[in-house]
Amino acid sequence: MAWLTTLPWGQLIINGIALGSLYALTAFGIVLIYKTTDVLTFGQGELAMFSAFIAFTLLDRLKLPFPVAFVLTLVFALGLGAVVERVLMRRAQQGSILNSIIVTIGLALVLVGMAGFIWGYEVRPFPDPVTGPPFLFRVSPTQNLVLTQLSAVILAVTLVLMLLLFAFFRFSLVGIAMRAVAQNRVAARLMGIPVDRINALGWGVGAALGAVTGMLIAPTNSLFPNMMGDVAIKAYAGAVLGGITSLPGAVVGGLLLGIIDSVAGFQAPELRTTIAFTLLVIVLVIRPAGLLGRREIKKV
């Protein structure tokens, strides 16, 4: 086990947290949609990818500065999510749970097809939101920790978004109402809460979180219709690991998978996904409800 002590742990964990932030943001969107609307969506990665293409168009064709394109893309994603709820999910949810899951899978396929049709299937470079030398932190005379500017941006954006969402759910009336709808839909209706509109908002915010992920991951992974495949799988694993009903759990699960990915990827790159999923299975055997999930959430 000598290799355990020779690993550059600090660096691997920093890289893992940066990578895990992206899983966490995607997982957060999945859990948010699941909690508010009761639908486990399999279209989250594709919503993210589609939004990344929108951002690309704004940046590359319209030559908008990154922050402006970022905000416009968020607005687009918010609307796209709401339209998806309105046009597809509200109808699909009249039927069984299986119906809505299949509809989200269909949504994913349609989005990939549309992106391919509009922008083509070739792999494109996506502009870096920041350029410049990486930050170096000296931890010992012989060792520096490296944080690229992109990773720093990813970490900062994740942190700010988490704080904003935390405050939104804790203090704003609409945020509290979203939690209420997730806990008891009938009681929420009896309070005069417009449950349909809250569901649309859940999808909108979920899609916007996906858009953030898409825009932050495209600079590293490049832009193409299937770019989110690996991230999305890890995000689902993160959501399940954290306990599919827990928003903080999604963050913890996503970050944890990022770190596992980074450490395992350094030691045995070809095994990193296998190791991540083995750990997932072990956790679920020990704690079927996930790390921070509840065994059962009462729904009426």
Binding site: A177, R179, Q183, V186, A187, R189, L190, M191
Partner: protein, 237 residues
């Protein structure tokens, strides 16, 4: 003056099951009306129709001089109908304070909301003490207080209560019934579904007895108590 609430020949279905066949009833403004009946008679369904959770398949619901049977639950809350459902249905993972705040979701009159919050705390001092606790950690009686308090935060003109005494100790039941009378004293109209027929008739101005989706009997509490059928089925005589 026409009654605040009027149901005319209401029929309602769950899928193909006809839960209400023919229900007509009235509640005068400022009164307490008891809705009695055996399990499965349709009491809860009647309240669900009034609060807009269930669309009737025939008949009319009139409230404050207006046909309302096609309005959404959301719209009816804004019109002043508050429904405390069977089994309390509080939000277990929100705090007591957050539960109460959602009661006022549709309101924008800050002064009135604050006044109603103080009114709820005066009626149920226990809720003030537990304001930061999660709803799910309250005792059954406290959850019932929260459910009623949350409904009062909508500032209802018509309060629908579905078996508020269910599962509570006698002392708590008395407290709940005292509050119901106090709420009426403050101007609200109350439609009260109860299994506890003695208690319900002791505070009601009028009562209806439902049986398999129809009104079988109605009358003032004295008349209902004197009725042989009611005595046999509900008063254990």
């Amino acid at each position: 003056m026409p009654p605040l609430l009027q149901l005319e020949n209401v029929e309602a279905h769950y899928g193909r099951i006809r839960a209400l066949k023919d229900v007509s009833l009235e509640a005068a403004e400022g009164s307490i009306v008891a809705l009695l009946g055996a399990n499965g008679a349709g009491k809860t369904t009647t309240l669900r129709v009034i609060s807009g959770l269930l669309r009737p398949t025939a008949g009319a619901v009139k409230y404050a001089g207006q046909r309302v049977e096609r309005l959404s639950a959301e719209a009816l809350v804004r019109l002043g109908i508050a429904h405390v459902p069977e089994g309390r249905q509080i939000f277990p993972e929100l705090t007591v304070g957050e539960n109460l705040r959602l009661g006022a979701y549709t309101r924008r009159d800050r002064a009135g909301m604050e006044q109603d919050l103080q009114r709820v705390f005066a009626l149920f001092p226990r809720l003030r003490e537990r304001a930061l606790q999660h709803g799910g950690t309250l005792s059954g009686g406290e959850q019932q207080m929260l459910a009623i308090g949350r409904a009062l935060m909508t500032h209802p003109r018509l309060l629908l209560l579905d078996e508020p005494s269910l599962g509570l100790a006698p002392l708590l039941i008395q407290e709940i019934f005292r509050v119901i009378q106090e709420v009426r004293g403050q101007g609200a109209t109350v439609l009260l579904v109860e299994q506890n027929v003695h208690m319900a008739l002791s505070i009601a101005d009028y009562g209806y007895v439902l049986e398999t989706g129809r009104v079988m009997l109605s009358g003032a509490p004295d008349q209902l108590r004197a009725n042989a059928e009611v005595q046999r089925s509900y008063l254990g005589a």
